[in-house]
């Protein structure tokens, strides 16, 4: 889940506090923890510690604001069964475009209920290999697919298996605004350090 949110959080820092602030935070993350901002956001406690070094208790408001720009926190607090409402339009667009693409939709459908290695995904959804690999990689980069366990190949090598981060997705277009609601898989929700930061 954090994979999916990281780019939007980065954008949020830049929009609110400017590129120079973002650069300083990135510089400190690199020298203190040896990681970039996208990586650190996935390890939210380290990201939080660096924000506190800069802004003291102001880091709390900053983090809440980031999340507010991306997820509807009011809905999130009320929500049950791991449903989250995506407010960020860039993030919503990723979902919309992924489901508009027949190949990607087929890939997602294949790993919705079970995790598979890439070769099996391509075989099950009957997508050409070259474009199939490219599209699976796009879904991984965008955070819609995550690695979940391994399969052992005949030569004994470990091969990553992939699955979707969600069980269900609902999409609406309300007054030209794309509203995406996703029901996260239980483990996706629990493993997201960002979502665990949301106060109850």
């Amino acid at each position: 889940m954090d994979n999916l949110l990281a780019p939007s959080l980065r954008k949020s820092i830049e929009v609110n506090l400017g590129k120079s602030t973002l650069n300083k935070i990135e510089q400190r993350l690199m020298e203190r923890h040896g990681m970039g901002i996208t990586q650190a956001i996935k390890d939210f406690y380290k990201f939080d510690s660096v924000l506190r070094e800069f802004f003291g208790a102001g880091a709390d408001g900053l983090e809440t604001k980031f999340l507010q720009n991306i997820i509807d926190l009011k809905q999130q607090k009320k929500g049950t069964d791991n449903w989250i409402v995506i407010k960020d339009q860039d993030l919503a667009k990723i979902f919309l475009e992924s489901f508009a693409d027949e190949d990607k939709k087929a890939i997602i459908g294949t790993v919705l209920d079970e995790s598979l290695i890439i070769a099996d995904i391509l075989q099950n959804c009957k997508v050409p290999q070259t474009s199939g690999y490219r599209k699976i990689n796009q879904l991984i980069d965008n955070g819609l697919l995550i690695s979940n366990g391994y399969d052992i190949a005949t030569d004994g090598k470990k091969i990553k298996k992939y699955e979707t981060i969600f069980d269900n997705v609902k999409m609406d277009i309300e007054r030209n605004v794309v509203v995406v609601k996703i029901q996260l898989k239980k483990n996706s929700f629990q493993e997201s350090t960002i979502l665990q930061m949301i106060p109850n």
Binding site: K24, R28, F54, F55, G56, K65
Partner: protein, 253 residues
């Protein structure tokens, strides 16, 4: 060979030499204007240059963060606040030195007064982003600081109760001390952070401004303000400290 060690914690300590320099500038200036025979031009010049410098520096900082939703807007508000302060000083100068009219009360007071809401906007923009939920201590600070300061002023000027100067002074002292409450609250938010030092310096600057304002309106009730009055020391050092805090903030982020 000296190793370039990564610090455990980022720090931005106050440079006490700068504080000493600010203190020395205002004290030496005060002595000079009190021993020289025609010091009006010097005082007016100094009174206008400092807010103008703070305003220019705030606008430069706003430009550095151009397009951002928090810093760009906040620094523009601070720039406008000090531009108003400069306008107030200029108007005061025109009234007294060119038109030879009594500058208190005058249109200059409108500029002096609008300075406070603009500083408040600067603080509120920061608070809304970094700490939208105000704690109980925050509420006590925001409400308590203006109440205590205004009551101190009321107590000191009770002898003139009911006069124009009395009510006029209450309005200004209340406005100035409201900015104090908000700035203490904001400094508490950033305490311990890299930008916390900049905010601490800003609070000290605003405290000096509030002391200066309270004293000024007290003087206006009792004896009448003169350009050589030591109350100027508080305003000058306040603006120079605010300038230093802006520099520290800019350097930290």
């Amino acid at each position: 060979m000296k190793l370039d060690v990564v610090p455990e914690k980022l720090g931005s300590p106050i440079n006490y030499a700068v504080l000493l320099l600010i203190g020395a500038i205002v004290v030496i200036f005060h002595i000079v204007v009190n021993i020289s025979e025609d010091s009006d031009a010097l005082i007016y010049g100094f009174s206008m240059i400092i807010p103008a410098t703070v305003s220019v520096f705030a606008f430069i900082t706003a430009r550095r963060y151009a397009g951002t939703l928090v810093y760009s807007r906040a620094y523009k508000m601070l720039g406008i606040a000090f531009l108003l302060m400069f306008s107030a000083e200029l108007t005061y100068f025109v009234y007294e030195q060119i038109l030879e009219l009594e500058p208190y009360p005058s249109i200059a007071d409108v500029f002096f007064f609008v300075f406070y809401p603009m500083v408040l906007l600067y603080l509120i923009i920061n608070i809304r982003f970094f700490a939208p939920q105000i704690t109980k201590i925050g509420i006590i600070t925001i409400v308590g600081a203006p109440l205590v300061t205004t009551f101190v002023y009321l107590y000191l000027s009770l002898s003139d109760f009911g006069s124009f100067d009395f009510y006029y002074g209450v309005i200004f002292v209340a406005a100035a001390s409201t900015t104090l409450g908000f700035s203490i609250h904001t400094a508490r938010i950033f305490r311990g952070g890299l930008i916390g030092t900049a905010w601490l310096v800003l609070v000290i600057g605003i405290i000096l401004d509030v002391v200066g304002d309270t004293w000024y309106y007290y003087i206006e009730i009792n004896e009448g303000y003169t350009l050589e009055n030591p109350v100027n020391l508080f305003w000058y050092s306040s603006y120079l400290l605010i300038l230093y805090s802006l520099y520290k903030h800019k350097k930290s982020l």
